[in-house]
Amino acid sequence: MKKKVLATLLAAAMTAGVLAGCGGDTAQTPAAETPAAETPAAETPATEEAPATEEAPEAAAPAADDAIANLIAATTGPVAMTVWASEEDQDLTTKLLDQFKALYPDVTFEITLGAESESTAKDTVLTDVESAADVYAFADDQINDLVQAGALQEVVANYTYDVAASNVAGAVEAAGVDGKLYAYPMTADNGYFMFYDASVFTADDVKSLEKMIEVADAAGKKVAMCVSDGWYIYSFFQGAGLQLSLNDDGSNTCTWNAAGGTDVAQAIIDLAANDAFVDMTDEEMATQIAEGNVVACVNGTWRAETAQQAWGDNYAATKLPTFKVAGKDCQMSSYSGYKLIGVNPHSKNLGWAMLLAEYLTNEESQKARFEARGLGPANNAAAASPEVQSNPAIAALAEQAAYATPQRVGGKYWDPAKTLGQILASGNPDGTDLQQLLDTTVEGITAPIE
């Protein structure tokens, strides 16, 4: 298998392989330090974007194979590594690790598998980068912080498959910072969309949020969304055409308080005023879906199982609906999300860690992950398979993709946005002027990084 796939050695990237923070003088590392000249193979034109698998130029493959052979030869003792995968991914990862070990029979591996949720990986890694796992999974919104803290090894070369070419463009973009690739895309399903119970809603109902609320109200059921959360409230403001983006220094630019902002805020207040529209957290939704109270919710693939169990054949998913802003229908936007695998630059077995990260994210592994857990692959070939295409949650994500944007936002965004959501969802109890409310939020979001 390994022989077939392409390995592109990004020789040009080697000089850029300096892993450092934002320090200006670090870029001046003398080129002599990089041993590029040592082997002619490294001179392979690297910038070419070769497609994956069979069409691979045979010339490039030996370089990667050489590197791996070198690595095997240079490995004397047992290779001890720690891998962190989420709690739900433990069984699958154990299996993949065994397969990985079998690929290199000459090497003794001592791989420890730890449980660390993708959504909280950053918290554990950043506390002490040096003792974090060698290879770990994380959600793409953490990539800026992780890169800044030097917790991700830049992917300067591929050995068993071409990461950039074989994954969907959005995932590759999400795995990079400033045009450099820092992680290996694992899934492309970490965004959100609408789940609904088809016995309550028709396919027409779910096109508009107002209609959905009306139908749910008539049925005495609820539509749920976690409004008091920066991740979800984004969908309203972005959907109405207001901007939020990340600056180079890690601060944010935000225009939510510009013209039209108050209309969006009012729209959210109006939505939340409906008894049939509830603001609740993901965990609560899980219980409420199971109890039959919630018949539609804005959530992600991780809730698919719960919804499927509760609604059976009526389980359905689609893109987010429209909502009314000042009498006009606006399509709700969303964050597209990816789960990535990163390699810790402080790893003692950097080479093996990179090979393992590649293995855990290659086409077969992504397929296996879909089969085991229904997670949407980021790999083009795996995503193209008919089983994946026919999965309702993944189809809904694909539908939503046109309105989704990658998550590029600085750390100052979350708390102010969450509080804005909380105030709007509870109907602005203090009666603060909406413009002033948004102004304060924007001040918080755009606060300079000191």
Binding site: W84, E87, Q90, T94, L113, A115, T124, D128, E283
Partner: protein
């Protein structure tokens, strides 16, 4: 007649209060037998009863739930740290209570203030100090975390020793006993209640702490954890709906030995703490 009514009311009030106090504990107990793994929000009692949660804890350890290992880890850490803590506390208490040396009162004020400093504040520094010694992710490191600073918590124990009459030690001194002999032969045997109090407190700390444990045992490997981290982890965002009743079962299991300890030691506990706090 009036007396009987008053007595009935008195006991009804007590009954009401104990129900209030025990309802959450009862919920913990019954939920631990629930066939539904998530949180049941509409029924107090589970709809289906099962022992499966306990079976999962003990018979089917996986990479997230390693209850027997957690229990053992916590027990080892608790046992050693309670021995070390108790020894340290006794040493300091005796010195402060029964010996006189220049600077004693200054030292006491200093250590009382130091003891007011909450550990949460200096966690990160402690972590890196232990990391330079290579003690993170190890039982030894945890034992040090829980017991090294124990000497500061001498106040109640010292108060108790203050109440031990000096006549005995005076008599012993006249017969030529050294301070060490007095410490080992006279004061320690007389301090039984406060020793029990100190032992229980030190033994319980590792069972309840998740903040330090989570920071120190950061390998992500479930077999390294203590009960507290393990259980805390079960209520994480992605876990709670599959592990809530398992969490309850785990809670019940640790509550059993601790309750037993409490009930048996109640007498010593009361004697110890009041003997000590008489002097504060």
């Amino acid at each position: 007649m009036k007396k009987t009514i008053k007595s009935v009311i008195r006991h009804l009030v007590l009954l009401f209060l104990s129900v209030v106090w025990l309802i959450p504990i009862l919920w913990l107990f019954v939920t631990s037998f629930s066939g539904y793994k998530g949180i049941n929000t509409s029924h107090f009692f589970p709809e289906t009863w099962t022992l499966d949660n306990y079976a999962q804890l003990f018979l089917r350890p996986d990479s997230i739930v390693q209850y027997p290992r957690w229990f053992w880890n916590t027990f080892v850490i608790a046992a050693f740290s309670c021995i070390i803590s108790t020894i340290l506390v006794l040493m300091v208490s005796y010195t402060m209570s029964k010996t006189r040396f220049p600077g004693r009162k200054g030292l006491m004020s200093f250590s009382i203030i130091l003891n007011m400093f909450p550990g949460v504040l200096s966690m990160i520094a402690i972590y890196f100090i232990l990391k330079t010694m290579g003690l993170t992710n190890s039982h030894l490191g945890m034992i040090i975390v829980y017991s090294a600073g124990a000497g500061l918590g001498y106040l109640i124990c010292k108060g108790f020793m203050d109440t031990i009459s000096t006549s005995l030690s005076e008599a012993a001194k006249l017969e030529g006993a050294s301070q060490a002999t007095i410490f080992f032969r006279i004061i320690i045997p007389l301090s039984k209640p406060i020793i029990v109090y100190t032992v229980i407190n030190a033994f319980l700390a590792p069972w309840a702490d998740f903040v330090f444990a989570k920071l120190m045992l950061n390998s992500g490997v479930a077999t390294d954890w203590t009960v507290a981290i393990g259980l805390f982890n079960m209520l994480g965002k992605s876990m709670i709906n599959k592990y809530f009743s398992v969490f309850c079962a785990g809670g019940v299991i640790i509550a059993i030995p601790i309750s037993a300890l409490f009930v048996i030691m109640q007498k010593f506990y009361v004697e110890g703490i009041t003997g000590g706090s008489v002097k504060g």
